[in-house]
Amino acid sequence: MSTKPRPALLAEIKTIVGEGNFSPEGRHCHANPSSASEVSQLAICAAKHQATLIPVGNGGHSTPTDDLRPQILLNMRRMHHVLYLDPTSLVVHAQAGITGLVLEELLNRRGLTLGTFAPEGLGSTLGGLLSVRTPGKSSRQHGTLEDTVLGVSAVLSDGRSLHTRVAPRRASGPDFARVLCGSEGTLGIITSAHLRVHKLPESRLLAAFRLPSMGDAFTAVRLAMREEAAPAAMRIYDRAEAMMHLGEACQRDEALLVAATAGPTSLAACDRDLIASAVSAGGGKRGRDDIAVAWWERRTGKSEHAAPPAPNLQISATPRMLGPVYDAIVVTCEELGVHFRAHASRFDRDGGVLFVSVQGAQGAPLSAKSPKLQAIEEAAESAGAYLLGKPNASLQRYSDLLRDGLDPSSVLNPGVLR
């Protein structure tokens, strides 16, 4: 039997957040704080009443848990202010409940940007984006959002507020902001963050290339990056995905590589040329520019085409392993008699991400529980891939210890990361 919040608890929450910002619902109570100080009072209140505290960004729901205590769902969306924009250092201090999109729009108006993140990834709140480490939402040029963090402010389980020191780099101990980033609300509630922002690029050049195979395309990307080409974004499509996303026909094994290079014009041109020469070394050739334009419009949400269905498999691999992993997926899918299409992007120093959509016989996407999808995952893993979204099993014990230390009564997000 789950426990409903007692009237005393409800009354206290109401006093903290105000009448209109609170609504009980079964064993939950939604509370919408407007400041770090209210979050802190809610944490104290939760501890006092043996309730749990679940931060909610744009997801709007809590992870199912067998914890039976009453839940305070802390909806962060009222905390959506830009607290300070430092135009000299190009640093913005924003509350955790602002969505990436709103923040980006505000920045754009001043000639600034969070980075070349795809808008589709920015619908989440800043707190949600920082709390969940998702390479699936990273940008080639600016990494994951946590890479842009100079400091965070947070509330711990006992209601204490903390602010990690804001500095471009420090040698005063470990990176304390990283304790909170990625911890999915289990160690503290992020209330605001200082983020590095960038000037909008002076120019952006788009180019498309065709290569004999996906393997050749991965090699070209690796070679270009070795020459220090630093494109803002890059994507490789296999034949099926090129058709699905861009309506572009490719030969049987051909791969399509699209790239956006940005910055001072001569540097953007240099980066594009470096990619072009890596492509030609791999037996590829320049494709039509309008393909790249179509890609960019789709990426920035300007395309009229409907967004393609989300991929059902996201995997990372190091630069050398992307090709073999893709090949392993090809072989396994053929054996299983299923269709798939894939694209790769988010290339950085450590590798890239493969987004794979696998369909069963009727063309419907395989569900996460499908044994066929699991077989493909296993094949990819044995070829050297890392499936995204798994906790680091080997460090689970340390995660638990850290958590016990910071949240001994397990008040914060008890169902997550266990």
Binding site: D86, T88, S89, L90, V91, V132, R133, L156, S157, D158, R160, L162, H163, T164, R165, A167, P168, R169, R170, A171, S172, G173, P174, D175, F176, R178, V179, L180, C181, G182, E184, K199, R222, R226, E227, E228, G263, S266, L267, L274, S316, T318, P319, R320, R349, D350, Y386, L388, K390, P391, N392, S394, L395, Y398, S399, L401, L402, G405, L406, P408
Partner: protein, 559 residues
Amino acid sequence: MAELAPKELFGSLASIVGGKRVSIVKRDREVYARDMWPRLLINRRQGGELEHLPHAVVWPESEREVAAVIRYANKQGIAVIPYGGGSGVCGGVVPLRGGITIDLKRMDAIQSISREELVTDVQAGANGERFERELRSKGYTLGHFPSSIYCSTVGGWLACRAAGQLSTKYGKIEDRVVGLTFVTGKGEVIKTDEFARARRGPDWTQLIVGSEGCLGIITSARLRISPAPEITVLRGFEFDNVQEGTRAIRKVMQRGLKPAVVRLYDEVDTFINHISIFESHSEEALETDGLCPWPTKDSGALPALPTPGGEGTRKSGGAGERAMGLGRKLASRIKHGATAAALARPKLVNSTFGALANTVSNSGCKMIIGLEGPRLRTEVEAQLTFAAIERAGGRDEGEEPGLRWLAHRYAVSYKMSPLFREGGFVDTMEVASTWERLPDLYESVKAAIAAHAVVMAHFSHAYADGCSIYFSFAGRAEGLQETQNKYDEIWRAGMAAATRVGGTISHHHGIGLLKGQAMHTEHRESMTLFRALKNTFDPNNIMNPGKMGLPLHGEMSIL
């Protein structure tokens, strides 16, 4: 900790690593009682006693042995202090509770170099210069060139979040690390080098890097490498003042350009540097000072390739030359003998230097800027960078100042010895902040130090969002006690000034014993997170106890 019987301790450790790799001999213990913290050097030069000695020193050869020693120590409640090159400048290796010092230098293997992935696996005890040399011989570079590269280790770099001279391009060591093998304070081995981005939960590597042996011991690391640069382009510029110079750096960085090195010397630092050009020590002369090993010409890992560039345009003039003469005398007095009088009156010297620096014809501030990398991109980037610097008011002085810096870039630290010999001290304070706060940081820290010592600064390690400032200072007082008091007061005032304006107390030297108190001022409630990490990895507080503002003895409450 129970009273340690030396023989028993020796026996237990010998059973783990063998008798030849343990020592309880006083001489060895004395060697391992300190690092390059100037306060300890003052103590040594002025005949003070070492307050803390380890009970034993061990030289393990494998991560298994490290783990076994820590497990033993954990069971007995004996402190463990990791020791790399001992080049730390904050007293990080001082064994405050005695215990076992673990020297990692025998674990120095480069386990692999992956050409395709551009990563290398290297053991923590690897010496910096030998490691870089090995990478270079295979066509790669780590891109990490601390001035202490000859005497520091990979593990020490990671433990302290070190920065190399080319960090503006390659990043600090924390930017070069993919993952670690780490032995916790409980003697358990963990690996954080799984493809970190793919995993949920915090990035453990970044929670361990910078922990200075207080959580456990790094035994090996996977680091990112780059192809060795095809070209290096260097240039000197001159600015009217620090404000203009820092503005130029900011513009370059915020345009997304990545010079490998940018160094802007403030007026006094420029002036002192200028003087030392005229009366620079010959390398032979320095080689003869037994306390100062001197890097030879081929030992710098960076080749310098000349590029077409303008001739140096140093100005000279009547009044300026006379002032230079005066300054040279003063600087020379500080360097050789007669330091006492000069350093005992820092305010006078600071103001004299400041005034001289202004008088010397158009002396202004010098900047060294360089780029390196693959030919094509580096050339394009260099053109953009130099043009941006000129637009921001920099006067091009050609490549000569850059080449001179490159040739002497490991030398400056070797010039400090004479000052200690004269009874004075020299030290450096490296702070950092966002650009917005940088002018405040510069003025307030400079003023705090200038009250007690002769001080100068340069700006290096630049980012799009901020920069670090490297203050060098020299001081003196009568007798050991007073000298130490003065030294402590400089640090107290300097750290308070840095935190007051929102800067960080350390950009790359770390905390150790020196800045333990200041850790609390900087992090305040965030120390909770550090205590939680400590309890997670080292619940019995045996790892390097008493450092980084963590308690020396016993348990602590986290919340």
